[in-house]
């Protein structure tokens, strides 16, 4: 491979890396005079048209992504059996190797990496692309420490649909979301889950779930809570751990609604104002009973530093890196202190001592102006206003605030407002000419209310989209849109009858009724099919064929002429007077009594059952006999005068000279 040129413009210079399905080469693009990375797929696409199309589609859709933290795909190519992607060349290493060499990372180093990753995924999500396989092996880090995600949608596109049996699966399940492990469709929330696992690995240098087999790992993803990073690294703030816990919630509904939300959370996670955050817990309405959350949190509260944090009258900033608990003291006295402090706080709050603290009012669903007024009345300032689509709130309504309603903040602190632009719309593309199954698969990821095919016969291959509703370029809200595609079910098929025995007339009639194009290819001899009838057809009967298909038939000319040999013989038939009749002697020359002669012949046109000739003689007579035999036949003759056999012979064709 090295030294080769592919696509007429890429000179392969060296090898960068190798994965299960592909090999990556460093190459030089002669036209644009730059180094590129070329990923050559090590996959036999022969006979796997569907898979090949899917791969090319995924790869092409990834070419549309342009983001500083996404490895750019420049080109998708195919040369002979070779399928390849031309990508931006990133000089550096994978994040996996970086973690191996440098992990675990402190939050101050891990968060900037995560911010880049989440921004990249957010960009892809806004373009309707789900990565499906976020893992440090798919993330590259350049020499400046920038990270870039690669392989959008591609790896999974290949492993998922392939029927190729595989047994090297352990590496692929570590970052898999529970819904993917279960076999469900990967969604944007699945990427968020994987990002949470990557964050865990950055902070601890380890994987949260490890086991000997892929199934055991998958089961842990399904069943076990994500372990606490603070258990081993107590210096990590709760607000940072909470990001992992929220991103890796088992139920996608409990995760961040979007990568953007995760981004915001990451960005503020080290803010001093978030030091007193409690551990992330699932909403109460879950099946899982969480009756004792306070007790569960007690071990954290007994940390002396933590105790200070909930002391409301001391707003002095606390060092984020909490020192590990110095000594295990008896828990109960501390718990008492804590409870007392909480009680004291509540009393102080009720008596209005905390005038400097104000609570964020609930402004969700309010118009922007109303919300601002309300917030300002409560003593907040408006820090920033972001317009984003929201599934729940109408356009113009506030759908989110940071901090959220109910949180306490110093008077005069800033609130960030999110104003809905209505439900997220998308431009409905022109899908005509594309393949229905893959389009549906794609649209399903957007959550269309329904995507239904209406099948009609058409000359286009089965599955091709012929028409669509909504029209191309219309703006639609997926969750409120029913999509109807007119889909070709291919040309109308008719089952071909057996034409054996058909005469020309019958063929003409059948051609008319079936719509097939029937031609007589040739006429030839047949021993079994009478002349003028069809003796064979191509294609054979029982196949379903499109109307207008060419059917060729061979018509019988009847049995073939075989070589024939003639046996000829002159036979003397003597006339013999009957000696019992005296009168004959007397009569002398009187008229002789006629005698009957019968000649029987067995040959290609006669059988022995009836005589071929019957006549009377009154004197010696000679008779010419001919026996015609076809190759392989047996025949003969017999001459009778009255009941007397005059001559008789049987012989084979081959006996005749």
């Amino acid at each position: 491979m090295i030294g080769n040129r592919i696509g007429d413009r890429y000179d392969i210079i060296g090898t960068i890396g190798e994965g299960g399905m592909s090999k990556v080469y460093l190459a030089h693009d002669l036209i644009l005079d730059r180094d590129v990375a070329i990923k050559v797929l090590n996959y036999d696409f022969a006979h796997e048209e569907e898979l090949k199309r899917r791969f090319q589609r995924e790869a092409l859709s990834a070419t549309s992504l342009t983001h500083p933290n996404i490895v750019n795909i420049f080109d998708v190519g195919e040369e002979d059996e070779l399928h390849y992607l031309v990508m931006e060349y990133v000089k550096g290493m994978t994040l996996k190797r970086y973690i191996l060499e440098n992990g675990p990372l402190p939050p101050e180093k891990a968060i900037p990496i995560m911010l880049q990753l989440v921004a990249a995924i957010s960009n892809a999500h806004h373009n309707g692309i789900v990565h499906r396989d976020v893992k440090p092996q798919n993330i590259l880090m350049d020499e400046e420490g920038n990270v870039k995600i690669t392989d959008f949608g591609i790896a999974m596109a290949l492993t998922a649909t392939s029927h190729t049996k595989t047994n090297s699966v352990l590496g692929t399940v570590h970052y898999l979301s529970p819904e993917q492990a279960r076999g469900g469709m990967a969604t944007k929330k699945s990427d968020i889950y994987s990002l949470g696992i990557v964050f865990y690995e950055l902070l601890t240098g380890k994987l949260p779930f490890s086991a000997e087999s892929a199934v055991a790992v998958a089961l842990k993803h399904l069943q076990e809570e994500t372990p606490s990073v603070r258990a081993e690294f107590p210096a990590i703030p709760q607000s940072v751990e909470n990001i992992i816990l929220k991103a890796t919630a088992k139920d996608p509904r409990h995760r961040y609604v979007s990568a953007d939300e995760m981004y915001d959370d990451l960005q503020t996670s080290l803010d001093p104002s978030r030091h007193d955050e409690t551990k992330f817990a699932l909403p109460f309405d879950e099946d899982e009973t969480r009756a004792l959350p306070v007790i569960k949190d007690v071990p954290h509260l007994i940390d002396p530093e933590d105790t200070v944090k909930i002391e409301p009258v001391k707003p002095a900033p606390v060092q984020p890196a909490a020192k590990p608990a110095k000594k295990k003291r008896k828990k109960w006295p501390w718990l008492l202190v804590v409870l007392l402090l909480i009680a004291a706080g509540a009393v102080l709050y009720l008596t209005g001592v905390f005038d400097r603290k104000v609570t964020v009012p609930n402004v969700l669903g309010k118009s922007e102006a109303d919300a601002i007024a309300l917030l300002e009345d409560s003593g907040f300032t408006i820090d920033d206003k972001l317009e984003q689509p929201s599934e729940e709130y109408e356009s113009g309504e506030v759908f989110r605030t940071i901090p959220e309603a109910g949180k306490e903040r110093d008077k005069g602190s800033a609130v960030k407002l999110y104003v809905s632009t209505g439900k997220e719309t998308m431009t409905f593309s022109d899908y005509k000419g594309r393949e229905f199954k893959s389009v549906k698969e794609r649209l399903d990821t957007y959550g269309f209310r329904s995507v239904v095919p209406e099948e009609v016969y058409d000359d286009k291959p089965a599955g091709t989209i012929l028409d669509q509703d909504p029209e191309p370029e219309s703006e639609v809200v997926p969750s409120e849109t029913d999509v109807i595609f007119t889909v070709s079910k291919g040309p109308e098929l008719v089952t071909l009858e057996s034409l054996i025995g058909y005469t020309d007339d019958q063929l003409t009639k059948y051609a008319k009724s079936s719509g097939f194009n029937i031609t007589v290819k040739k006429r030839t001899h047949s021993d079994s099919i009478p002349a003028g009838q069809v003796m064979s057809q191509d294609p054979s009967a029982g196949q379903s064929l499109p109307i207008g298909a060419e059917i060729s038939v061979i018509v019988s000319k009847g049995p073939a002429q075989k070589p024939v040999k003639l046996y000829a013989k002159r036979i003397k038939i003597p006339y013999e007077a009957e000696d019992t009749d005296d009168s004959s002697e007397d009569g002398g020359d009187e008229e002789r009594a006629p005698q009957t002669v019968r000649i029987y012949i067995q040959d290609r046109s006669h059988s022995m059952t009836d005589p071929v000739e019957e006549f009377e003689i009154t004197e010696d007579t000679e008779k010419q006999i001919t026996v015609e035999l076809e190759e392989g036949q047996r025949g003969g003759y017999k001459v009778l005068r009255g009941t007397t056999i005059i001559d008789e012979k049987t012989f084979d064709y081959k006996d005749i000279q």
Partner: protein, 252 residues
């Protein structure tokens, strides 16, 4: 022993990585082997062919002393599969083009009225007896393990994108653990061994109907394979069908 073997490349593949064979000793003891190879770039067929050939050779070495009990057979099968595993593993390590190759393996010994089975992977053995079909082996597949754990349903398993992941394969790791089964094999019984090219396409009930119906063993096997092909034939398809010899000439 009456048997019929057939392997088919299917409709989508360029290689047939399945292998199957039956071996018979002078005393009538029969070994039937089926293997579905995979991995190692394009060496899946190497692994499956090795597995079948080596099992046969090992079986041939029994001419002087044939095991007589279920325990002895289990021991013999275990030893054979381990040996085959080691040889394929060594071959896989020997050249980069063989790296990662492996194969599923079903080995069934029928001796008199007893059947002894060793099983690795996701090829299957079914027993058809008095109008019922029973799947003897349990797939060593990722999806099957999830199913067994109760995390997914049958319906989810059927469409799981990782159906092709198997958890055990002969030759892919240094050591191997097989599953063993032993049961009586009566006159009138049929034993069907097949690769997933068949079991992914033809449901057990249809197998039962085709096998219990009339016709020759060869005809039945051909019907099974044709059906899998009609339903897509994305994978190689291989089946071995064995009938108890006392089933009479009608079974031929």
């Amino acid at each position: 022993m009456l048997f019929s073997i057939r392997t088919d490349i299917g409709r989508k593949r360029t290689f047939n990585e399945d292998q199957a064979a039956c071996f018979e000793l002078d005393d009538g003891t029969v070994l039937a082997v089926i293997a579905d190879g995979m991995g190692g770039h394009r060496s899946g067929d190497v692994a499956s062919a090795m597995a079948v050939r080596l099992m046969g050779e090992h079986f041939d070495g029994l001419r002087d002393g044939v095991p007589r009990s279920a325990d002895m057979w289990a021991e013999w099968l275990d030893e054979s599969v381990r040996k085959v595993n080691r040889l394929i593993y060594e071959k896989a390590q020997s050249a980069p083009e063989h790296d990662g190759m492996g194969t599923t393996l079903e080995a069934a010994v029928i001796q008199g009225g007893d059947c002894h089975i060793a099983h690795v992977g996701d090829s299957r053995v079914y027993l058809v007896r008095s109008g019922e079909i029973t799947q003897i082996t349990k797939d060593h597949s990722y999806v099957n393990a999830l199913l067994a754990s109760g995390e997914i349903t049958e319906a989810e398993a059927e469409v799981h994108p990782q159906r092709n992941w198997i958890m055990r394969a002969v030759g892919s790791e240094k050591s191997i653990t097989s599953d063993f089964y032993h049961f009586r094999f009566h006159p009138g019984d049929y034993l069907l061994m097949c690769t997933d090219g068949l079991s992914n396409k033809v449901e057990p009930e249809t197998m039962r109907v085709l096998i219990s119906g009339g016709g020759t063993l060869d005809g039945k096997v051909a019907q099974l394979i044709d059906l899998a092909n009609e339903r897509g034939g994305e994978d190689n398809i291989t089946a071995v069908l064995l009938a108890h010899p006392a089933s009479g000439a009608g079974a031929l």
